[in-house]
């Protein structure tokens, strides 16, 4: 059984009366245990909407999303979520932010403390643990957000463009850090991105969305050893293949 299964999911917004917007229409795919899957697509195509439904923050209009066969009906610590802007609580220190990920779990205090320490260590934030988010660089904030999402040992990690706001020079560095943290945790990951190279760097599989209604225009397995060499020929090959898929989708000539 798939770890996460997206089953005929549709999402329609009708905020304003008489106006309906079909963002996703009958989307289905599976994600296996331990897989790292990127949802790649142009911005506005519904990636965040789909991911928030996996997070349980909103519900599909039709269809369902199942985790280990159980339909998702709301947010839960089973699914760690890293928001596009990280959503670290600004009034809590690094330490308190990470500890919040365990606060509502039924564990002995000593165990909680050990896990928080380990997560902070993994995020290389030990010497910054008493700082507030505003005092951290973008990279540290991102690692803190990932540590907070992982500390509760969720079954899947959901990442919404975790590097979307990062400038180009920092990006590769932060990609390496994120890769390290995720591989160390050995967890199923779904990550949203619109950056082709980023999807090749991280993914076991890239699901490519077109422009309209969450239409899937490609489902590409990336068969490269980790940590991936961005300058290798195969890497380049995947990048151009995915770029072409996206370009064709833009032209409207979808490839099934």
């Amino acid at each position: 059984m798939a770890r996460l299964s997206i089953e005929h999911v549709s999402k329609v917004f009708s905020d304003r009366p008489g106006e309906v917007q079909v963002v996703l229409n009958d989307v289905s795919f599976d994600i296996e245990d331990g897989e790292f899957v990127c949802l790649l697509g142009p911005s506005g195509c519904g990636k965040t909407t789909l991911l928030t439904m996996m997070g349980g923050f909103q519900e599909p209009t039709e269809g369902q999303i199942c985790l280990d066969g159980e339909p998702i009906s709301g947010p839960s610590p089973e699914r760690g979520y890293v928001f596009q802007n990280y959503a670290l609580f600004p009034w809590m220190t690094v330490e308190k932010n990470v500890a919040y990920g365990l606060k509502f779990q039924d564990l002995p205090e000593a165990e909680k403390k050990a896990r928080v320490d380990a997560a902070i260590e993994m995020a290389h934030l030990t010497e910054h643990r008493k700082k507030f988010p505003i005092q951290l660089s973008g990279g540290m904030q991102q690692r803190c957000a990932v540590a907070r999402a992982l500390v509760g040992r969720p079954k899947v990690l959901l990442l919404d463009e975790p590097l979307g706001a990062v400038d180009f020079q920092m990006r590769e560095l932060m990609q390496n850090e994120l890769e390290r943290m995720v591989q160390e945790a050995g967890i199923t990951v779904v990550m949203v991105t619109h950056d082709v190279s980023e999807s090749v760097f991280f993914s076991d599989r890239v699901i490519v969305f077109g422009r309209k209604e969450g239409e899937i225009v490609g489902n590409v397995t990336i068969d490269l050893p980790r940590t991936r060499d961005r300058s290798s020929e195969e890497y380049e090959h995947y990048v151009s293949h995915l770029t072409n898929l996206l370009r064709d989708a833009f032209k409207g000539a979808s490839i099934k």
Partner: protein
């Protein structure tokens, strides 16, 4: 990546220099105004309208050691604190409820929005009928002046909280009570403190007016008295005093603001 922290200190130093320059400018402007006053008073020669600068300064300085003045000042401050305290309790509770629940918002906001259109001074006659002359109407008026800025800014404080903070907390298993305690309260704190500043400020401004009318003690009463006795220099001195005290209270609340929400500042200190 890490050396970002170090770069923060540069603008801080720059800010300090700027602040000192700003301070010197302020002093210069102030000095200029005093000099202008000094000569203008001599030129006009009507001490009832514009009293002699030196005499006013004498009044101003001696007022701080004058028992009667200080006793009335204390009375007024106590009224402001009492009225603001009621405003704080009711304003923050209403603000939190209205910010948190859309139902409460649509239920209460027309009521609150029309009440706050009534000028503060228009409450004077009614509050005298309700409470009689003395403390009652004065404190009520301060309350009315303080409560609306608190409600409005606390609402803004709650609604300004990033929706994703709620989602994040829920995805970590937080229940409603925890979300209220861990997200809503600290998240609304900056807005609430802004409201508190405005509330105490407008409370201070309206207390003096209230004391003109509704009572025979307090700082505002001393002003009316000085006016009636044609002690214009004293009146000026009292007005400057009320500005100084108001400014001092504002600075105090700003200090508290920095302390309580130090997480909003990069240097993390008050």
């Amino acid at each position: 990546m890490e050396n970002r922290d170090r770069t923060i200190r540069v603008p801080v130093n720059g800010d300090k220099k700027k602040a000192r320059k700003m301070f010197l400018m302020n002093v210069a402007v102030m000095g200029g105004l005093c000099v202008a006053w000094f000569f203008a008073a001599r030129a006009i020669g009507k001490p009832l309208v514009l009293p002699d600068f030196i005499e006013t300064m004498k009044e101003f300085l001696t007022a701080w050691t004058n028992k009667r003045t200080m006793r009335n000042m204390g009375l007024t401050l106590k009224r402001v604190l009492t009225g603001s305290f009621y405003g704080l309790v009711i304003g923050s509770v209403l603000g939190l409820i209205m910010g948190y629940s859309e139902k409460a918002m649509s239920l209460l906001s027309p009521f609150i929005n029309s009440l706050r259109q009534i000028p503060i001074m228009a409450w004077v006659p009614l509050s005298i009928i309700w409470f009689g002359l003395g403390e009652g109407p004065t404190i009520f008026m301060i309350f009315m002046a303080a409560v609306f800025p608190l409600i409005i800014n606390t609402i803004a404080g709650v609604t300004d909280i990033d929706r994703n903070y709620f989602n994040a907390a829920r995805s970590m298993g937080a229940d409603t009570v925890s979300i209220f305690r861990d997200i809503v309260l600290p998240g609304a704190m900056p807005g609430f403190l802004t409201g508190l500043r405005l509330a105490v400020g407008s409370g201070w401004m309206s207390v003096i007016c209230a004391e003109f009318i509704a009572t025979s003690s307090g700082f505002g009463y001393l002003m009316i008295e000085a006016q009636e006795r044609m002690q214009t220099a004293k009146l000026y001195a009292l007005m400057i005093m009320s500005a100084v005290v108001g400014y001092g209270m504002d600075q105090l609340i700003r200090f508290i603001e920095r302390r309580v929400t130090s997480w909003r500042f990069k240097d993390g200190k008050a």
